[in-house]
């Protein structure tokens, strides 16, 4: 890509556009290298920000270098050395430490392929057990994708100051506790991978209550997809990493059919022609690769559930028996309230609404009475069983617990259509914010 031709604002725009493109694609790669040196993410961020600022100043004049990533890395490193050198002067420390790193040498143009990818280590740092779980997802978005605290705050509907504090606290903890920038070895991998997967999934299915009436930034799902596919590429031998990439790809494939802010379209009623065949194909590929590794896990089962739903695009039907088998398997691995309710809905589909209601009654979780999906599922099952009166009460209860307008209107429609309704297969899981059921 030659951006050196031309003069004036065209070049400025090209340089600016190129810097922005790089900021998206290379940010995490560069930050991972810079921060790995001494574990100081904050200072690495500052140096990288200055490198990008310098690129915006000089590239319009000089043209975009052949290896922009190497250019940025060199400038950021030099900036880091300047900072450390002045600190060293103040502390009257010898220079040997700086020489030893070899980074004092200014390399004007490097082969970009020679820049090692240390993002994997960075992901493990962000989701380290010593980091507050609530900070892990935001930290990944910032360190790997270069998001500003206020952008992340907006995406999670948390005030920018609160989000910034949370991020700074996490970064200082990484530096001060000397959390190593390494990829865990084989023994530690299973235990250490799970929080990484969960943090990435957390960007997809935000699992805390958002402000009612607000919508999480849609493109955060795109970022989760980016992180999940990146992790799968960096860890091609980890079945669950592939499983997560499959899960997010297959779920994201159905986004265009899920309705709008004003209208909720449940999975059953979605038009499969709106689903993305590309994302389904790539999700299926990840799932196949995961299966070949023959190590089952929660994300693979959830991906397989999505895969069965997506198969309706070609077969025209939903294989509820296969879904029940998968939900039962998921129940044994991750018996969360959401998983148990979804399992009861699947039982209702295959074995009839009475069996579904029985499964729902057997949950016995103390927070079930406040769990909106449990009431929505109960209402659907009662309606399917022809018990319209009880179904209406369950709908009323579900509606009172629903803060999302689109979902509430959907439930009100279903409730209004109850009179004399005896459809045998009307049970289906309902999603709601915080419900964590597949939509």
């Amino acid at each position: 890509m030659d951006q050196r031709v031309g003069t004036g604002s065209g070049v400025t725009q090209d340089a600016a556009a190129r810097a922005e493109e790089l900021a998206r694609d290379a940010y995490g790669r560069l930050l991972a290298i810079l921060a790995a040196r001494d574990g100081d993410i904050e200072s690495a961020e500052d140096c990288l920000a200055e490198a990008f600022a310098q690129a915006l100043r000089t590239w319009p004049e000089t043209g975009v270098p052949n290896s922009p990533e190497a250019w940025l890395l060199t400038v950021a490193r030099n900036r880091g050395h300047d900072l450390r050198r002045s600190a060293a002067h103040r502390l009257n420390e010898p220079f040997e430490n700086l020489e030893q790193t070899g980074a004092l040498s200014v390399v004007p143009e490097l082969d970009p392929d020679a820049i090692p990818d240390r993002r994997l280590a960075l992901l493990f740092v962000c989701a380290h057990p010593a980091i507050d779980p609530a900070a892990r997802t935001p930290l990944m978005l910032q360190a790997v994708l270069g998001f500003e605290a206020d952008q992340i705050g907006r995406a999670f509907a948390i005030p920018a100051t609160a989000m910034a504090q949370r991020l700074v606290r996490a970064k200082r903890r990484i530096r001060d506790a000397k959390i190593p920038f390494v990829v865990p070895d084989r023994d530690q991998m299973p235990a250490r991978l799970t929080p990484v997967l969960e943090a990435i999934y957390g960007a997809y299915a935000i699992d805390f209550p958002l402000v009612a009436g607000t919508v999480p930034r849609d493109s955060l799902a795109g970022e989760a997809h980016y992180l999940a596919t990146m992790l799968a590429e960096l860890l091609p031998e980890e079945a669950e990493a592939l499983g997560l990439a499959a899960l997010i790809s297959l779920s994201l494939a159905r986004h265009p059919a899920r309705g709008t802010v004003d209208e909720f379209v449940p999975l059953d009623e979605q038009d499969p022609s709106l689903w993305s065949p590309e994302l389904i194909a790539s999700g299926e590929q990840y799932l196949r690769r995961a299966r070949d590794l023959d190590r089952m896990g929660r994300f693979q089962i959830e991906a397989a559930i999505q895969s069965v739903h997506c198969a309706r695009a070609t077969s025209g039907e939903t294989d509820w028996r296969a879904l029940l088998t998968l939900h039962t398997a998921l129940l044994s691995l991750a018996p969360t309230l959401g998983v148990r309710v979804a399992h009861a809905a699947a039982v209702g589909r295959v074995e009839g609404p009475d069996a579904g209601l029985e499964a729902l009654d057997a949950i016995g979780d103390e927070s079930a009475p406040r769990f909106q999906p449990a009431w929505a599922t109960r209402a659907h099952l009662l309606a399917a069983a022809g018990r319209a009166g009880e179904a209406a009460l369950a709908y009323e209860r579900a509606i009172s617990l629903t803060t999302n307008g689109a979902v509430r209107r959907y439930l009100e429609r279903r409730c209004a259509g109850l009179v004399g309704e005896t459809r045998p297969n009307a049970a289906s899981p309902i999603t709601c914010p915080g419900g964590r059921l597949p939509s």
């Binding site: 920018a160 100051t161 009436g213 607000t214």
Partner: protein, 130 residues
Amino acid sequence: MRYALLIHYPQPAVSTLSEDEIKAGMAAFHAYAKALEEAGVLRSAEVLQTIAKATSVSLKQGKLQVQDGPFADTKEAFAGIFMLDVPDLDAALAWAEKCPAAHWGTVEIRPSAVRFVDGAWTSGSEPVRA
């Protein structure tokens, strides 16, 4: 059943906030109030100025005391109220956890005891849903 969502957060919050942050907070409160209104559960909403603007009056000590400031100096101060009419506590909880202020303070849920309507005190638990 009427419930008050009482919002408490650290003071003085506003003076330390940037204009963008205040705007973002107002947008969040607006979205929240619209969602409550659309669900038909909102009876009233009011966000108060900071405790720096408070004046307190008391006759407890036998004579009129007018104090410049809040009646109690606490880390988190009362900042606003949303009156809801919902079937039960679980529904009130569902709304409270979606309140923007829950992210930077505390939302206290208090059931109404009595309220004054049309010249008489009425039980707060009487359903008044349209």
